[in-house]
C-alpha cells in the first residue's frame, strides 16, 4: 500500500469560500493540496459541502474567495483557463447523467470529437477500449435507458476517462445504485486508483475509503474538521465530532 509514489501538487486549494444566493454558506476558508496519483476521500454529513467542493474544483460553481489551481492553471474568470481545467478534470455524478438520446458509444465519442478534435474512428477505438476496461463492451450500441444503474455508471466513468483527464472526481458514484451493483462500480474505481489516477472521491463506502484512499478529509458545515491517512483517520480519530460521525456510519 505505502509503496505508492506521489508526484507534485496537481491541485492547490487555498482558503476558498462559497456562499449561495440564498445565503447558505457551503464552504468556509477551505484549503487542501492534492498530489498526483493521490486518492483523496471526502466524507461528512449531508449538507456539509462535499458536493459543493467538487463542483468548485471544475468551475461548476463559482467560489467567492480564495483560489484554486489545477495543474498549474488558475481557475479564474478567464474562459480559456476554465475550459482547460474542465478538460483536465473528469467528473462522475450520483445520477450518471448519461445523454439519453445518444447510444452508449456516442455518449463516449461525442466530447472526444468535439473537444479533443479526434476523428470518428480514433474516438470509437478509444471508446471500445474503455468499454472493455469497464467490462461492458457488448453494450456499445444500446441506449442508456436499456442499462442497469451499475452499467450506466460504468459507462459514465468510461465517458469521463475518454477525455484523458488528469484528475477524476466522483460524487457519491454508488449512492443511487442497488446494493448488488455497488461492487462492480467500486471495482472499476479501485482499478483506476491502482493505475495511478489522481482521484477526489465523495463516498459513504467506508470500506472503499479504508482500502483505497491515501488521504481522508472529514468535513462539516463547509469546514475541514479532521484529516489524515486512512489508517490514522479510521483507527485513531482525534476529534469528538469525527468519532461520533464514524460511530454512526460504520
Amino acid at each position: 500500500m505505502s509503496a505508492k509514489q506521489f508526484g507534485d501538487y496537481i491541485i492547490r486549494v487555498d482558503s476558498i469560500g462559497k456562499t449561495f444566493d440564498n445565503g447558505v454558506v457551503a464552504l468556509k476558508n477551505f484549503s487542501t493540496n492534492i498530489r498526483r496519483s493521490e486518492v483523496v476521500v471526502l466524507i461528512g454529513p449531508s449538507g456539509s459541502g462535499k458536493s459543493t467542493f467538487l463542483r468548485c474544483l471544475n468551475g461548476l460553481e463559482e467560489i467567492d474567495t480564495g483560489s484554486i489551481i489545477v495543474d498549474g492553471i488558475l481557475l479564474d474568470d478567464n474562459k480559456k483557463n476554465r475550459l482547460e481545467i474542465r478538460k483536465e478534470v473528469g467528473m462522475v455524478f450520483q445520477h450518471f447523467n448519461l445523454f439519453p438520446h445518444l447510444s452508449v458509444l456516442k455518449n463516449i465519442t461525442l466530447a472526444q470529437m468535439l473537444v479533443r478534435k479526434k476523428s470518428k474512428g480514433e474516438a470509437e477505438d478509444e471508446a471500445m477500449q474503455l468499454l472493455q476496461k469497464v467490462n461492458i463492451a457488448e453494450k456499445a450500441n444500446v441506449f442508456p435507458s436499456q442499462l442497469s444503474g451499475g452499467q450506466q455508471q460504468r459507462v459514465a466513468i468510461a465517458r469521463a476517462l475518454a477525455m484523458k483527464p488528469k484528475v477524476m472526481m466522483f460524487d457519491e458514484a454508488t449512492s443511487a445504485l442497488d446494493p448488488e451493483m455497488i461492487g462492480e462500480v467500486l471495482e472499476v474505481m479501485k482499478n483506476l486508483a491502482n493505475e495511478g489516477m489522481t482521484m477526489v472521491v465523495v463516498t459513504h463506502e467506508m470500506g472503499f475509503a479504508k482500502e483505497v484512499s491515501d488521504w481522508v478529509i472529514f468535513m462539516e458545515d463547509g469546514m475541514k474538521v479532521e484529516e489524515g491517512t486512512a489508517d490514522h483517520f479510521f483507527s485513531d480519530p482525534k476529534m469528538d465530532r469525527t468519532k461520533l460521525f464514524l460511530s454512526q456510519i460504520l
Partner: protein, 266 residues
C-alpha cells in the same frame, strides 16, 4: 364490472358524437336560415371561376388561388423567421449576458402587449420607409416578430425542462455553450417543443390574413374584394374558410407524423 365500464365509455363516446352532430347540423341550419331571412340567394355555381378557369386548355388560377399563393408565401417565410427569432430570443433570455437578456425582454414586452394589427401598421408606415423595404417584407417581418415572441416562450420552456444534470455533464466534458445546445440540449428539448410549435404554424396561417390591411393581396384580401363586388359573401367566405381549415389540418397531420417517427427513433 369491466364490461360495464367499457359500455359506459362507449356510451359516452356515442353521446359525444351525437352531441357534436346536433351542434354542427344546428349551426348550419341557423346559418342557412339567417341567410334566407336576409333573402339570400345562393349562387355556388359562380364560385369556381374565382378559383380557376381554363383558357385554351391552360389552367389559369383565379383571384382566390392567386391570393392563396401569396398567403402560402407569407406563411412559409414567416414561419422560418418565427422559428429562428423564437430560438434566438429564447437563447438570449437564458444567457448570462445582461444586455442580451434585456434586449430579449424588451422585445417580448412590446410584441406581446400591443395588437398585431398595430404592429403591422407600425412596421409598414414607420419602419419600412426607414429601412426602405416593400410592403410584403414589412408584413412578413411584422408577423414573424409577433409570432416569434410566442415561439420563444415555447423554446424556453422546452429547454428549461431538460434535466440540469445534462448541462453539468456536458459542461464537465468540456463542451462549449453552442455545442451543448446543438448536441445535448436541443435534441432532447425538441420533442417537447414540436407540438406547440405546430400550433404556432397554424396561428401563423390564420394571422397572415391580417397583412391585408397594408394592401397585400393575399387570399382574404382578394376574397373581400370579390365579395364586395359580387355580393357572394357567404359562398366566398365559406370557400376560403374551408381552404384555411384544410391547410391547418394538413399541417398538423404532417407534424403528427414526424412526431411519431421522432419518438420511435430515440
Amino acid at each position: 364490472m369491466r364490461s360495464s365500464i367499457l359500455l359506459f365509455c362507449k356510451r359516452h363516446h356515442l353521446l359525444d358524437i351525437s352531441a357534436y352532430l346536433v351542434l354542427m347540423v344546428g349551426g348550419i341550419l341557423l346559418l342557412l336560415k339567417g341567410a334566407e331571412d336576409q333573402g339570400y340567394y345562393w349562387q355556388w355555381f359562380r364560385i369556381p371561376k374565382f378559383l380557376y378557369h381554363f383558357e385554351d386548355g391552360r389552367f389559369i388560377a383565379g383571384p382566390i388561388l392567386e391570393g392563396l399563393k401569396i398567403t402560402l408565401n407569407i406563411t412559409w417565410i414567416s414561419l422560418i423567421l418565427t422559428y429562428i427569432i423564437g430560438l434566438v430570443t429564447a437563447l438570449m433570455r437564458l444567457s448570462n449576458s445582461l444586455l442580451a437578456r434585456g434586449v430579449a425582454r424588451t422585445y417580448l414586452e412590446i410584441t406581446r402587449n400591443t395588437p398585431l394589427l398595430v404592429q403591422i401598421f407600425f412596421m409598414y408606415f414607420v419602419i419600412a420607409p426607414i429601412l426602405d423595404i416593400d410592403r410584403f417584407t414589412a408584413g412578413v417581418l411584422a408577423l414573424s416578430l409577433f409570432e416569434g415572441s410566442y415561439a420563444s416562450e415555447i423554446y424556453r420552456a422546452g429547454i428549461v425542462a431538460v434535466n440540469k444534470g445534462q448541462w453539468e455533464a456536458s459542461y464537465t466534458l468540456g463542451l462549449g455553450t453552442y455545442q451543448n445546445y446543438r448536441y445535448i440540449i436541443l435534441p432532447q428539448a425538441i420533442r417537447r417543443i414540436l407540438p406547440p410549435l405546430t400550433s404556432q404554424a397554424i396561428s401563423l396561417i390564420k394571422d397572415s390574413s391580417l397583412v391585408s390591411v397594408i394592401a397585400i393581396y393575399e387570399m382574404t384580401m382578394n376574397a373581400n374584394e370579390i365579395a364586395s363586388e359580387t355580393f357572394l359573401v357567404f359562398e366566398i367566405f365559406f370557400t376560403i374558410a374551408a381552404i384555411y381549415l384544410a391547410l391547418a389540418i394538413t399541417l398538423s397531420q404532417v407534424v403528427a407524423y414526424f412526431e411519431k417517427r421522432y419518438r420511435v427513433v430515440s
